[in-house]
Symmetry: D2
Subunit: 334 residues, 4 copies
Amino acid sequence: MVAVIRPETSQERIDHLITWLKDKGLDVHISVGAFQVVLGLIGDTSQIDVDMLRSLDIVESVAQLSDPFKACNRKFHPEDSIIETLDSAIGGGHFAVIAGPCSVETKTQITFVAEEVKKAGATHLRGGAFKPRTSPYDFQGLGAEGLDLLLEAKKVTGLPIVTEIMDIRSLALFEHVDIIQVGARNTQNYDLLKELGKTGKPILLKRGLAGTIKELLMSAEYIMASGNEQIILCERGIRTYESTYTRNTLDISAVPVLKKLTHLPVVVDPSHATGKAELVASMAYASVAAGADGIMIEVHNDPSCALCDGPQSLTPVQFAPIVEKMHKIREAIK
Amino acid sequence: MVAVIRPETSQERIDHLITWLKDKGLDVHISVGAFQVVLGLIGDTSQIDVDMLRSLDIVESVAQLSDPFKACNRKFHPEDSIIETLDSAIGGGHFAVIAGPCSVETKTQITFVAEEVKKAGATHLRGGAFKPRTSPYDFQGLGAEGLDLLLEAKKVTGLPIVTEIMDIRSLALFEHVDIIQVGARNTQNYDLLKELGKTGKPILLKRGLAGTIKELLMSAEYIMASGNEQIILCERGIRTYESTYTRNTLDISAVPVLKKLTHLPVVVDPSHATGKAELVASMAYASVAAGADGIMIEVHNDPSCALCDGPQSLTPVQFAPIVEKMHKIREAIK
Amino acid sequence: MVAVIRPETSQERIDHLITWLKDKGLDVHISVGAFQVVLGLIGDTSQIDVDMLRSLDIVESVAQLSDPFKACNRKFHPEDSIIETLDSAIGGGHFAVIAGPCSVETKTQITFVAEEVKKAGATHLRGGAFKPRTSPYDFQGLGAEGLDLLLEAKKVTGLPIVTEIMDIRSLALFEHVDIIQVGARNTQNYDLLKELGKTGKPILLKRGLAGTIKELLMSAEYIMASGNEQIILCERGIRTYESTYTRNTLDISAVPVLKKLTHLPVVVDPSHATGKAELVASMAYASVAAGADGIMIEVHNDPSCALCDGPQSLTPVQFAPIVEKMHKIREAIK
Amino acid sequence: MVAVIRPETSQERIDHLITWLKDKGLDVHISVGAFQVVLGLIGDTSQIDVDMLRSLDIVESVAQLSDPFKACNRKFHPEDSIIETLDSAIGGGHFAVIAGPCSVETKTQITFVAEEVKKAGATHLRGGAFKPRTSPYDFQGLGAEGLDLLLEAKKVTGLPIVTEIMDIRSLALFEHVDIIQVGARNTQNYDLLKELGKTGKPILLKRGLAGTIKELLMSAEYIMASGNEQIILCERGIRTYESTYTRNTLDISAVPVLKKLTHLPVVVDPSHATGKAELVASMAYASVAAGADGIMIEVHNDPSCALCDGPQSLTPVQFAPIVEKMHKIREAIK
């Protein structure tokens, strides 16, 4: 880390800062230039709060020579991580198509959808049992019963399942879940992340509602620092001022940025990002073209009842050709 | 709730929608205009997902005649709520000055600061024991030990204490805490909110990092729907594109907006919003002038060691005249 | 347009509003429901300021049954518009590859780049003569001389040229320019748009720095209302809170949204959006996959001097295979 | 300026960069640390594009030791600038109350409002003659006739007038206007700014729709670099994701930030920021408490016709006590 001191800072204040830094166990290399002093900090700088250092009135700027994320950093782990579950894999050239309904409703529904998306080329089944709803008066999901129904669909199709956890106290219920999802409202629920870090389960970690790329990586780091390296990152749209025509703004540039910074696989959820079924296909194509390792799409069973399932779901019939085109795009950018 | 149907929608699709709405237990009042159909939905519309309804391709727009928040709605509870703890109160004309260090460090530190801020006019003592940090490698707070130190400072000064909970499993430790804070990263941690709703404790609920005003109210609603009506709302700055000169953008207009929508007291945290000590005073004055029921300010003991405490803290000496001026502004706007 | 009146509004105030609306020449269809009054406004509602109507205290909500944009609306002009210049075309299945340096520097430079990008498959040459710079002390472009150099490059290669106008008083200089660009800082410079509407020139209109999709269409509408229908819309990234790893956030979902709302062609500028050469290729691919009618890419002549040209430029050697892949992706999504 | 080079950069590339910097006329002070090279750039660094330098792949970070704005920088001009017109002044302890209707409509209207706001304590009269409207089909203002009406109101009341220019070609019409306003859509219309810099007129420069504080200062710099130092900066709300309850988010923290960075006076426009009359008073108080040099408020003549004037206007009767309270707050924070 390098800290540039403001011009005209008194030597006394500089010395005070140096003493404090040394007390933290760092070596400090002092470079006195023609008109400024630059401090090079050597050692374990992870104990230094960069934002704090940066805002000190005697500090002009701070350059971090090392990223704040270590375990998920591609620099120290150049090969792609591959997350394997049953016969499916994500990352390192393995492309995931994660599909299924927003909410698990009935055994017939989830099994039917599971079979349909499998036929269409899905590699994983998704479905919500615990649902984070903005209103306490809205349907909160089937809970434990929903998990049971998902497991039945897994048994029938052989597809690994992805479903969201909201409360760490329900972790025991997720024993046979293949990939545990952390939703956008819990991306910075650090105690949840720490506990998930103690499991051996793959975690699908969504970017926060208005989370930065760096915050997403730091949240992954929480899980990894607790011992679990099986993480899939998920871009799902960010909150911007543009909310008339799309619910969120899908930040597709996050895909190549993340692929460069980390070895973890990156998937995209165009359904939640746009909130509109009619935009899902083009955003899925764009994400694949940008290099995503997988796509997560909402598919619901019954077109005539699409009403109850929200406007962002596709039918199995609409879903199948999208999978085909995604594979063609993957060929095109090879 | 009123739903305006798009022109040229087939009668069949309109009928389908009406049937579905009636299945939800609603009466539907149909108004056929010269060039559009408008559906008036009568009954308990809280079961309807407005966003879903709004995005249906046959629906032009939806007007909610009733707010989605009930318990915290000023319409049904016109008088200000007052949150009382020990000898202090917030709301209904009672102005709170909540002050203290970002983190509890030592017994000497927290007791000293508590005494100093009390002398300067603080009504509540704040201090962090469990700290949400972006990096798993940063100091995570003293935890249970920090809570003990806070309770000692409470004993010495008689000030009620405010401190943050991060994990519902540590709730038992908060037995003697006067006001439990929910931080900006947990504003939509619904399972945490539900549990806090079962306690009889006052809750200070911070607005999310990039949370809307409506989301803040809906999170309060989660707590209230579980039985706890003692909630203080806290504006603490929102995430915007402007982050060069301030950490967040303090949304002071949220104060009069919230005061109109809800009977719950509204306090402002200018320290976290700006991230800079030099802006705290003017933003505190502005918040008071806008009608806030209280201000939450970081104050640290030792100016010469302000280094370790971050650039957003004030010293007790800087803090005292700010309290005075806030009271003068309250007089001015009466 | 439909206005839903708030419950419990006095008849007098409703009558007052109706009188005012009728004075504007509108017919008002009044629908009295069980618990609300809905006004249907019939006639030329373009004279009504919707935002004003919406914010009246007696109005619950306003639904616009017709879009505020007319001339550029696909509803009234279902076929794609095609913008033709020399031998090149954009829209209606014609894919444009607009390439060239950020700034025109010398005759050798611009001619060399023009020849190189033509060889690589570019259909249009871009280059800046008048440069909008945040600082008055930065290089402001070669101005009229730069336009001359561009025209020479056009003569040599036969490529139509695209270049930015900043001041309407310099319009005469653009006589032989094929497509006049309006930059992101002038998207809402309405007097400039009105004047450009009086020319017969194709206009490439960039989305504002933090402009909404609707504002972009309304700005196009300004040009069209003045008589010029030859407009190309350009997505170039929007301002969001995420600015660490990308300069702007490229809103690729704007492509399918715009393609649905308007018949005008839509191109994407990944160079300005990301500000980083290393992200240009993947964002170009994503934009093509999302259905863009063209891509605008910065290409600079001399890799060894890329220094002076900014980090978002590619070399001709890097550019050529990108064009190839874009065409492959177009095949894949057919 | 200080540039920190990335570790492990080849000496050849560093030398290449140094040569290029020296070619720009700079002295380069090279500091070779234990694990990094830091370049100190000495001389006129205003020719260096910092963003470009920062994004070079061999550059870790760049610290600007000097701000990019010079003429408006408080460092080089510590005393407050005071903008005087007729008997009114803004800045340096002079508090401005700028009031009047959004649009000039008739002679009776503007003269009546002018007299009323003067009685209530206004120091300047505002009124729009040229109106920037999102839609080309909306009322565009009375234009030259509106300016004439404003001048009549000036004659009657003696109040200096503030009104917006949209097209530099109409500058001659502004000869007797006291303060020329540049609206939020033209904040980065650099050619307009340059021309206004050649006039001797005070300019009220609004922050862009989603403009940064730095961009506002750089736009002021454009005017000043052309010779005109009489500038008033105006905060008017910024575009954020929160647009349900307020039109924009008023960034009140911009007031103390600007007051520290520049000697130019800073006023706030709470009417446009919030878009709601009911929020204007509290936001005006907050702005004054934060240290604003003036407030700009929309006041319309006829409450019974407030309909036509938009929901953000106050009546003279509502306006008068607000002025009084603003002065009381100024006393309170002294």
